[in-house]
Symmetry: C2
Subunit: 208 residues, 2 copies
């Protein structure tokens, strides 16, 4: 954890690394891991193949670095949203907004992320999966606690256990993101977070 003892060269290399990852992200998100040869990434990043192997041990390593680093950004953004000051309802709103904003600004990665976090876990070796899961679980954990404390202080009714609610909310947001990714005009992501949250806040059945 040193502050900034970075030589010019070191900064340059970091920048190059970033550019490789950016090129790779664009390609992977468009065609999928298996349909992008290293050659193509090299060309897109304007490097020779050999150079990529100076930065990453192999193709999988490159992919993993890409997913993990973007995953970190997403986890951080979501965690910050949940932990921002406000009551439980506001925290949930912040979370929905954070999801919307991150998705808006990182569409290419969102496609990869969804593909990666959902079922297709055999796409790649086990390592990635486990590490990524950890990040997702960390966010889920925080969400669970929001529901929990909301129930404790009477702001929420105990209609289901907090973890189930967290999973449910997360999956519903995912679904809306997916709709939006597939056709932004037909299914715009709602501006007002309550458009989604009301599904959970308000009951479908008239009270007995």
């Amino acid at each position: 954890m040193k502050n900034t003892p970075l030589s010019r060269r070191e900064r340059e290399k970091l920048q190059q690394r970033k550019e490789i990852l950016a090129a790779a992200l664009a390609l992977f998100s468009e065609k999928g891991y298996h349909n992008v040869p290293m050659q193509e990434i090299a060309e897109a990043a304007e490097f020779a193949i050999g150079t990529l192997y100076k930065f990453f041990q192999n193709k999988e390593d490159l992919y993993k670095a890409l997913v993990m680093e973007q995953g970190d950004r997403f986890e951080a953004a979501f965690a910050a949203a949940i932990q921002a000051p406000g009551d439980e309802i506001e925290k949930l709103r912040n979370f929905v907004r954070a999801r919307r904003d991150m998705c808006r600004d990182n569409l290419p990665f969102v496609r990869l992320f969804i593909a990666e976090s959902k079922g297709a876990s055999f796409n790649l070796k086990a390592g990635l999966d486990a590490d990524l899961r950890e990040k997702i679980d960390a966010v889920m954990e925080k969400l669970t606690r929001v529901f929990e404390s909301g129930m404790k202080n009477g702001r929420f009714l105990k209609i289901a256990d907090p973890y189930s609610l967290a999973v449910a909310l997360d999956s519903v947001i995912d679904a809306f993101v997916l709709l939006w990714v597939e056709s932004p005009e037909r299914h715009p992501f709602p501006e007002d977070p309550d458009a989604i949250l009301d599904i959970f806040f308000k009951g479908l059945l008239p009270k007995a």
Copy 2:
């Protein structure tokens, strides 16, 4: 649509085809499309490679046949559940139950199906994706109509538009299925459909 003018040989071939697809399903669901060579499928099905190519034009064709035929079964089961007699609430319960049952009895395919229907659309050529989407959309359409009619006849409150509710319910069930697939002991799929439906039926917020 002839009845049963099937020669013995024809029945045999159909059976062989089924066995190839079964072997392929087991392998694909475990390792993913790209990590299963035709050779391996052939061995598992106890045929020579060349024989597989008598049944399917190529690997992708085999995979597509597999996914589509299983997809048909799932679509039929879900459609039947939704359209079984009963009020809207019962229809939703039937749908949740159908999902649970199909998943219980077809775990290997469920993994594939989730991977395929969610983001990883670049796993394969466009054709599959579109055809599978159609089936999913058909079910979604039916679900939407359940919410719609429930709102019309006052059984449901209009807390969100019917399509959004259909998408939301579907994604929540998906999420629970995923949890269950990953660790059946830690996250058993709830026996009582209302354990899931209550998230939608009951409101999280105390009525104002």
